[in-house]
Amino acid sequence: MEALFLTLKLAFFSTLILILLATPLAWWLAHSQFKGKALVEALVALPLVLPPTVLGFYLLIFLGPQGPGGWLASFWGGNTLAFSFSGLLIGSVIYSLPFVVQPLQNGFQLIGVKPLEVAYTLKASFWDGFKNVILPLAKPAYISAATLGFAHTLGEFGVVLMIGGNIPGETQVVSIAIFENVEAMEYSQAHLLSALLLIISFTLLSIIYKTRKQQGAGLL
């Protein structure tokens, strides 16, 4: 059960960071005329196609003693971010980035700039308009993005294995624990965890498809 708690904690914080990070990025991608935009979009989408091992390998180098992650860790006396919860969090955020950015980007594109312009002409500043017009209109997109990001982090395996290893309470998430249980022939434990993950994922996806149907009432 420690693994389950850790998994939920990881998914929760990843989603939180992702929403904060993806909001400006998705807004920019939705509205920028910048020529190099396609490159940025491709970069964001990379985790969709790369084998988790490739991503994990680069992250391992990046987070390790020789990379910026190790340098960062030296501030609190460590020498690496790999094999730690923080390292896992960074990995999750990158791994799930496209699953949060894309729904938000689509949502923002669907809304367009018109509602914001209308808000401007009614004496609302950018932040005022963004908070009181764009965010409420983008609510379905945010529900999709958050649920997808959360669910996808739950299912993470390869990246975690590469950069997190298998430390109970620190980096051993459910997917890894299942793998270990099976290896150790402890099928009953594997059954329990698998069923739990199945139910949680199914519930989350149901929420997404439910909100997608309501999204039609986005903008008039």
Binding site: E117, A119, T121, L122, A124, L137, K139
Partner: protein
């Protein structure tokens, strides 16, 4: 509530907008001596909306904009007042109400951010007859109702200048007729200077006090002419001569109609009299009419067995063939300019020529508004 009527509003613009396919140069001093509607018009694609958006601060422009001595834009000095700090409000096409808010919340969005008071709120609801709509959701409203709410929402932000960007373009004829009196009423009642963009001749005729004509040549647009509508009537009509809306404006006087005319109105021109269907709303007195070119046909002699009431003697001023097999014939009717669209084949068959006296049969006459 009413502002000092003697107060003059002035908007000074001198800027250019660069777009991929065209360039707009706009230089003008737009003045409102009293509340009134200045209509910006020109063919579609000539940059009318860009002009309006630049004034609102929604579009990038190079140059200067001064409103009532306040600088909104001065690209040389690097000043660009953002839209929400300019004292304007804008009514967009299709209203653009916020769909996550209902009608009253849409109005409150603007009310909360302006210095309008409770009295303004009441006045606005009353003037636009919004009471029955307040608790409806935006999706329940008709096109005309949406535009009424949008107009109210803009009023409640108490702007010093109201911009309207083709507000009636997506409405059907009946809704347009329903909204236009509201716009005129609001303009007078709130002493509000309005800058109004349209490509519809009907709207120009019914709403404009002044017109600003945009002209596009070789991907360059500029302000061709501006002034009171009555002085520029000819030019305004010329702008539409090529389009399906081609027609003419006739000034006349609505006079008493004896009962024998069965609910027809009579309009006195210099010598002739025009008949129209009864218009209950308009009072006797000077009036402006609009006659579509396609509603006017010509005959060489006065037919006595026609059901058409309006058959008037005219003389031909000019005949210009168009590429679609039709010709526009300019006629002199009691010293006023009347336009007729007939087939080029008919022109040849009847051997029509400049200076000839003929008879014009007018199928329909639309009353526009009192002058």
């Amino acid at each position: 509530m009413k502002m000092d009527k003697s107060k003059q509003t002035s908007l000074e613009i001198d800027f250019s907008i660069e777009k991929k396919h065209f360039r707009l140069k706009a230089q003008a001093l737009i003045k409102w001596q009293k509340p009134g509607i200045h209509v910006i018009f020109g063919k579609s694609g000539c940059g009318k909306s860009h002009l309006l958006r630049a004034i609102a601060g929604l579009e990038k422009a190079q140059g200067t904009i001064n409103f009532q001595e306040v600088s909104w834009l001065n690209s040389q000095q690097g000043t660009h007042k953002p839209c929400h700090q300019r004292d304007v409000s804008m009514v967009f096409q299709e209203g653009q109400l916020f769909s996550h808010l209902n009608v009253i919340e849409n109005l409150q969005f603007s009310f909360k951010r302006s210095h309008a008071n409770q009295q303004d709120w009441q006045h606005c609801i009353q003037a636009l007859n919004l009471q029955p709509l307040l608790n409806k959701s935006v999706s329940q409203l008709s096109g005309g109702e949406k535009q009424r709410v949008a107009l109210g929402r803009s009023l409640l932000s108490k702007p010093a200048l109201l911009l309207m960007d083709e507000p009636l373009a997506s409405l059907d004829w009946a809704s347009k007729q329903e909204i236009m009196p509201y716009i005129q009423h609001i303009c007078q009642e709130w002493s509000l200077p309005i800058l109004y963009v349209t490509h519809s001749l009907d709207e120009v005729m019914q709403l404009a006090d002044n017109v600003i004509m945009l002209e596009k040549k070789d991907n360059q647009s500029h302000i061709e002419k501006m002034g009171p509508l009555l002085e520029l009537l000819q030019d305004v009509q010329h702008g539409f001569n090529q389009s399906a809306q081609a027609g003419s404006i006739i000034n006349g006087t609505l006079i008493e109609s004896p009962n024998e005319f069965h609910n027809l109105d009579r309009i006195q021109l210099k010598q002739n009299i025009l008949f129209t269907n009864k218009n209950s709303g308009i009072k006797k007195g000077p009036i402006r009419l609009r006659i579509q070119a396609s509603d006017v046909s010509l005959c060489l002699s006065q037919p006595s067995d026609s059901s058409i009431l309006n058959i008037l003697p005219v003389s031909i001023l000019d005949i210009s063939p168009q590429d679609n097999g039709q010709s526009l014939v300019q006629l002199d009717l009691d010293g006023q300019y009347l336009l007729s669209r007939i087939s080029t084949h008919s022109v040849e068959r009847l051997n029509l020529h400049t200076g000839q006296s003929v008879f014009a049969q007018i199928k329909a006459v639309a009353l526009q508004r009192p002058v």
